[in-house]
């Protein structure tokens, strides 16, 4: 079964997702003297996984700036630096902490280019790390991609694998607009083929991970891996599912999405966030609004329930959706 797109395998090595991020930062700082990284833990070899390992040693304190616990100001500082011709990557070791920074992100960065008639743009990468599970509970487990995807003027990417992690981060840094780069600690140890040299993956382009004819499964970030598990299980049951990795939530690759749903006529949307007004709701709405007549069955969403993250592992174990939940939804749609 082909669960990867065709990539030229020359000059590739297997590296982890965290290493892929590290390479993207390393190589862009090396290449472009406007790029710097700022935020809590970026000088630590473990605070943000191993994503920032070795950066401080190589580039020093001017380009790798660890900070006090001041998310609001630090993010604003990064936005200001972007307005003054730098290309900052501001890291938030947990997307929950980034909520203190919603003013500079949403009011300032997202709006600046529009509200000043295009005079200045904000070339910034706002990197928020999702860190769920582990009984960390409500304030340390949130997947907040929907909030940011809702905001005009922000691009949002959520890579699922090392290749995209590096390529999308490079694109995000090179983009002239604010880009939310949202990753998930559950992905950090996943290994995949990654070219050694710098390359980019286009923002706004999804990826078909598996071709199938019975049903379309759409996922992003960590949930792609649960979907991969589901697809494998479904094959055993004789169900031929097509799997699409969105990669970018905004702009969203409607061309790829619509083509797939037109073909299969059935859709399950998987997202690691909450259900109400979430990414899965948006994807469903896009399909209903545009290609309703191709649908052979109602769409189903697999998301978190509309509940804060519980601590107890007894509840965590049913809180996070898994491959089997995706399989169940597919079978319901196919009445199998």
């Amino acid at each position: 079964m082909c669960l990867r797109i065709n990539l030229k395998l020359e000059n590739m090595r297997k590296v982890t997702y965290a290493q892929a991020i590290n390479e993207a930062i390393y190589q862009t700082i090396e290449q472009d003297n406007r790029v710097f990284v700022i935020g809590q833990g970026c000088t630590s070899p473990w605070y943000v996984g191993s994503t920032c390992q070795g950066l401080i040693e190589k580039f020093g304190q001017e380009r790798v700036i660890d900070t006090p616990v001041s998310e609001n100001a630090i993010t604003g500082v990064a936005v200001g630096a972007a307005l003054a011709k730098m290309r900052p990557i501001v890291v938030h070791p947990r997307i929950d902490f980034m909520l203190y920074a919603t003013d500079p992100i949403i009011n300032e960065a997202a709006n600046w280019h529009y509200m000043f008639g295009g005079k200045l743009s904000v070339p910034i990468v706002i990197w928020g790390i999702i860190n769920r599970g582990g009984e960390q509970a409500a304030q340390h487990s949130q997947a907040l991609q929907a909030i940011f995807t809702h905001i005009p003027g922000l691009k949002v990417v959520m890579p699922s694998n090392p290749y995209d992690a590096k390529g999308l981060l490079v694109s995000a840094i090179k983009d002239d607009n604010p880009v939310l780069y949202i990753d998930d600690r559950w992905l950090y140890k996943i290994k995949g083929n990654v070219p050694e040299k710098i390359y980019s993956v286009p923002i706004g382009k999804g990826k078909r991970i598996r071709k199938g004819k019975d049903i379309t499964i759409v996922a992003s970030s960590y949930m792609v891996w649960e979907a991969v598990g589901a697809v494998k299980g479904l094959i055993k049951g004789g169900i031929d599912a097509e799997l699409i990795d969105l990669r970018s939530l905004k702009p969203l690759d409607t061309e790829l999405l619509f083509a797939s749903v037109k073909k299969t006529g059935r859709l399950v949307v998987v997202d690691g966030g909450w259900k109400t007004c979430g990414v899965a709701a948006e994807v469903s709405a896009l399909v209903c609004e545009n290609i309703f007549k191709y649908l052979k069955a109602p769409i189903r969403r697999i998301t978190l329930p509309d509940i804060p993250a519980p601590a107890s592992s007894a509840l965590e174990s049913i809180y996070y959706p898994k491959a089997k939940d995706i399989c169940k939804a597919v079978k319901k749609i196919l009445k199998k």
């Binding site: 660890d66 006090p68 616990v69 001041s70 960390q136 409500a138 340390h140 107890s312 007894a314 049913i318």
Partner: protein, 332 residues
Amino acid sequence: MTSSIMTKYSKVFLKQLYRMMVQIRLCEESLVGPILRGEVKCPVHLYTGEEAIATGVCAALSEKDYIFGTHRSHGHYLAKGGSLQKLIAEIYGKETGCSEGRGGSMHIIAPEKGILGAAPIVAGTISLAVGSALAAKIRREKRVSVSFFGDGAAGEGVLYESLNFAALKRLSVIFACENNLYSTHMPIRNCRPENNVFKIGIPFGIASFRTNGNEVLEVYEATKKAVGICRRNRGPVFIEFMTYRLRGHVGPDDNIQGTRTDIRPKEEIEEWRKKDPIKNFEKYLIKKKILKQKEIEKIRNKIQKKVTLAYKFAKESPYPKEKDLMKYVFKD
């Protein structure tokens, strides 16, 4: 500590302080094994070494006074009267925990004891403490609210906004900053241009001072003074308690330089071990003939038993039921 200070207090009171500090220490250290064995899964920020602050502050409060805490609040919770059994059960993710297993170590509460919540968003509870003081003021109650937070929280803007508003409205809040010289992996010199957090209260006209957070009687005196100021409607007050966590940021990893987390010089930790608030208080109590070595052992054994019982309670308690996943999103 001078002997004149010592004679001011009753033996009963001094022993109470001692017992509370020992209870917090034994509670904290009892968690090391279960964390290492993976029995405790939630992140746990140990309060070891800082016991004098929670103990001294809460000794100066009454039950109806409010407190708010942080990610490192087992000590605050116990000192303000929270149940040890419910704490351990919470850390074990059990339904009998103080947050019904929904919160874990970082989200603990006991409203009946004035503990309105401890939560781990850095500085996130400071403004809430101010709000509780506003409520008390509107209702014309003589309540005091204490906001516990760390030196790291002094990086967040909301602290300064809270100081200003509390001063503007003369609210009875005590801003209790526990300065343990570190914020996760960062020593305070990398976070602030100078290490004197208490001075941030001064521009707002707030009575602001610093005290030794490892001397329980100094903590108690400082807080008593602050409570007095608040009860006379002269609040808020800012107190910076100088201390050190003898454990690392999270879990039993001591963050020693040269180990994986590679943060704190071994010598520095050794220096602070000499300032262990419990050992020092113990020495004084023995010297002043308030406690005998034998009594100390008795007290420790008794508390150890209480801790053991709390574990028994926690382990025998049921987990939250799957059907109750939705419970508590809203109040019915």
